[in-house]
């Protein structure tokens, strides 16, 4: 299943809820302000690093760029996709769940 998270973990607990309820093997795509969850060394980084073994993490490149964040600042192992990549993930995974 593909989960999208569009809220910053510093604003809402959507990412934590998503991680608590998503099954191992899920793909999680951070979009809009959700991309702040992907920052290396932040207070919220453990959310993702603790789940990297059993989940795949992606961020939406255009939303990263819109916020002036370079890929060097992301947690290692997170993949950057564009909107075409977003669509491909939605096709590959049997369902899409949006966490807002």
């Amino acid at each position: 299943m593909l989960h999208t998270v569009n809220k910053s973990p510093f604003e809402k607990n959507s990412l934590q809820t998503c991680l608590r309820l998503s099954q191992p093997g899920s793909s999680i795509l951070l979009i809009e302000d959700g991309i702040y969850g992907a920052l290396k060394g932040s207070d919220a980084a453990a959310n993702i690093t603790e789940h990297m073994q059993e989940r795949r993490f992606y961020v939406l490149g255009p939303d990263l760029k819109a916020r002036g964040i370079d890929k060097s600042r992301l947690i290692d192992g997170i993949e950057i996709v564009d909107y075409d990549g977003f669509v491909k993930l939605a096709v590959e995974e049997p369902k899409v769940q949006s966490w807002m």
């Binding site: 302000d33 909107y83 075409d84 669509v87 899409v96 949006s98």
Partner: protein, 130 residues
């Protein structure tokens, strides 16, 4: 593959309407079908033709109308959410005795059943919003 998209947020609010638009475009460019785009809650505000953003800003409503025309999209505005927020087509204008209507080109007003139908008949339903 058949997609439907839900937009729960108004234009120029945060980013959901833009994200939904770019996602829908990417879906179409990869040769997939978009069965319906359903505008719900504040998302109905995407469907007023009276929108007049500054000239150097994107016109979110016209962008949806143009994409709809180009790809023959079914752009559906939820009737109950629309009535609360003053989004009116000709039928609703008559039914509620209003002096005008404001639905944008290519949009239509219908019920929540259209969202349920889109969820059942599409392979993927993707929601954007707050």
């Amino acid at each position: 593959m058949k997609f439907s998209v839900v937009v729960n947020e108004g234009p120029y609010t945060h980013q959901a309407s833009d994200s939904a638009y770019y996602f829908t475009r990417a879906v179409l460019s990869q040769g997939h079908e978009v069965m319906r785009v359903f505008f719900y809650h504040d998302g109905v505000n995407n469907g007023t033709r009276l929108t007049t953003p500054p000239q150097d800003d994107r016109n979110i409503t016209n962008r949806w109308s143009d994409l709809g025309k180009e790809h023959n999209l079914d752009l559906v505005v939820c009737v109950a959410a629309a009535q609360r927020r003053g989004i009116v087509d000709e039928d609703e204008q008559k039914r509620n005795s209003k002096d005008t209507n404001n639905i944008a080109d290519g949009f239509r007003i219908s019920g929540l059943g259209q969202l349920i139908e889109a969820g059942i008949q599409s392979d993927r339903l993707v929601a954007f919003g707050d």
